[in-house]
């Protein structure tokens, strides 16, 4: 993919993410026996928030909200322009760090608790993403996304356990049940995003849409050069994580970190070791 196509695609990624989020709200409603909102609902929310008065706690807090958006956007650009997988992961971590710092900078206890839990989210799922970058390197021989997307191998065949692990940590990165402790809407009302309002909440809201695109692009990478399989994987992952979101209750942060570190990461490491042994 050329640099300019990637740039334009990144520019329109909030639109793509908004449609994914709108579809997710409909699918979730249908699974609960409801009709659900229209497909364009996230965009209605977006335009409504444009018109709201913004209440600023202090300028640094508002700035961190905007940096979260820019950081996520840049991480997605690195992925889409065929850049280094590790750099994309690094920028994603950085953008979440902005959100966490913003969450810690206000006095609202919910915001601080949410920021702490956000850090625990990162502790839980980030090792898995770094390991999956290493695994994709072992299979395709490159860390470059463009290289992985043009590779002759299909990483899914070599990394089935890895794919399962990433699939189960998808709720953690997108903050859906059962791993939605960071923005538990019933207990801490959104966690680090609680104090944002108006245009600044809009930035955080849009960043969450971009994270959808980011997370599903990671799933897409597991199909390597076979792009039709990649699209199928994305559709499967979408319905799977919606089902998981609807049928499970929220676990606490200990259970979340334990599940990632005792079950998902060992699964991934076993897969990694087997592939390394088989290669040698």
């Amino acid at each position: 993919m050329s640099y300019w196509t990637a740039f334009i695609l990144t520019l329109f990624s909030p639109v793509i993410g908004g449609f994914i989020y709108g579809l997710e709200r409909i699918v979730r409603a249908r699974m609960q026996g409801r009709v659900g909102p229209p497909l364009l609902q996230p965009f209605y929310d977006f335009f409504k928030l444009m018109d709201k008065r913004s209440i600023i706690i202090h300028s640094f807090h508002a700035f961190m909200g905007i940096m979260y958006l820019i950081g996520t956007w840049f991480a997605l650009f690195v992925l889409l322009s065929g850049g280094d997988l590790l750099i994309a992961i690094f920028f994603h971590v950085l953008s979440l760090a902005f959100l966490v710092v913003g969450g810690f900078s206000v006095r609202s206890p919910y915001s601080v608790i949410g920021a702490m839990r956000e850090l625990l989210h990162m502790v839980a799922y980030e090792p898995l993403y770094v390991l999956s970058a290493a695994a994709l390197y072992l299979v395709t021989g490159t860390f470059q996304v463009s290289g992985i997307l043009h590779s002759k191998h299909v990483p899914l065949i070599y990394l089935p356990l890895f794919f399962t692990a990433v699939l189960f940590s998808l709720p953690a990165i997108l903050k859906k049940s059962p791993f939605d402790t960071a923005e538990a809407h019933q207990e801490i009302i959104g966690g680090p995003e609680i104090e944002y309002s108006g245009k600044f909440y809009e930035a955080v809201y849009t960043a969450k849409w971009i994270e959808y695109v980011y997370a599903f692009f990671f799933i897409f990478l597991f199909a390597g050069g076979n792009h039709i399989l990649g699209a199928l994987l994305i559709i499967f992952a979408f319905f799977f994580f919606n089902l998981l979101d609807n049928v499970t209750a929220r676990v606490n942060f200990r259970q979340m970190v334990a599940f990632h570190w005792y079950i998902l990461i060992p699964l991934a490491v076993i897969n990694l070791m087997l592939i390394a042994l088989w290669r040698s």
Partner: protein
């Protein structure tokens, strides 16, 4: 671009119980459940004053609740509307003229729509919200104060100071 028409497409709700018997609250939650499903109209129960447009208040406003109600009202960014749900919130209901209540929400904050009923039926609540959306569409973005508050709003708006001023007056009233 005119963003005003999107206001009635995605109203987010903040629900506050000022000492109600929970009858009206259950009916509000029934609106969100599969049978009435107000998410069809983009209505979400946010529970966060900073991100909501409609304040649904139930209950006769007890002495302890009035300060919290005023705080929540001040934390909501404009444009916003207030809907009083149920007989108690409209006029005090069976608690009217008791020593510990304020006789309705409109004694503390300005109310735009009154939804009667004990408890208010979900159909009536949806009707009230639809009426509130028409009012929300016409509202401006300037800071709103309770009618009894004498504070002046000057351009760099400091909500904390305004709230302190109003609270002082609220406690000095009786």
């Amino acid at each position: 671009m005119d963003f005003k028409k999107f206001r009635k497409r995605s109203p987010w709700i903040l629900h506050y119980n000022t000492g109600s018997c929970n009858g009206c609250d259950i009916e509000i939650l029934a609106c969100l459940a599969p049978k009435y499903d107000v998410e069809r109209f983009g209505i979400l129960n946010r529970g966060n004053p900073k991100q909501s447009d409609i304040l649904l208040v139930t209950g006769p406003v007890t002495k302890r609740a009035k300060e919290r109600l005023l705080r929540l009202y001040f934390e909501m960014p404009e444009p916003k509307v207030v809907v009083a749900v149920g007989a108690c919130a409209c006029s005090g209901g069976v608690f009217r003229h008791m020593y510990n209540v304020e006789n309705g929400v409109d004694k503390v904050i300005p109310v735009d729509v009154y939804v009667p009923g004990c408890a208010a039926r979900p159909e009536a609540i949806i009707d009230g919200i639809v009426r509130a959306l028409e009012i929300l569409k016409e509202k401006g973005k300037e800071v709103e104060l309770p009618h009894w508050c004498s504070a002046q709003v000057k351009p760099p708006v400091n909500r904390v100071k305004l709230l302190d001023r109003c609270l002082e007056e609220l406690h000095g009233r009786r």
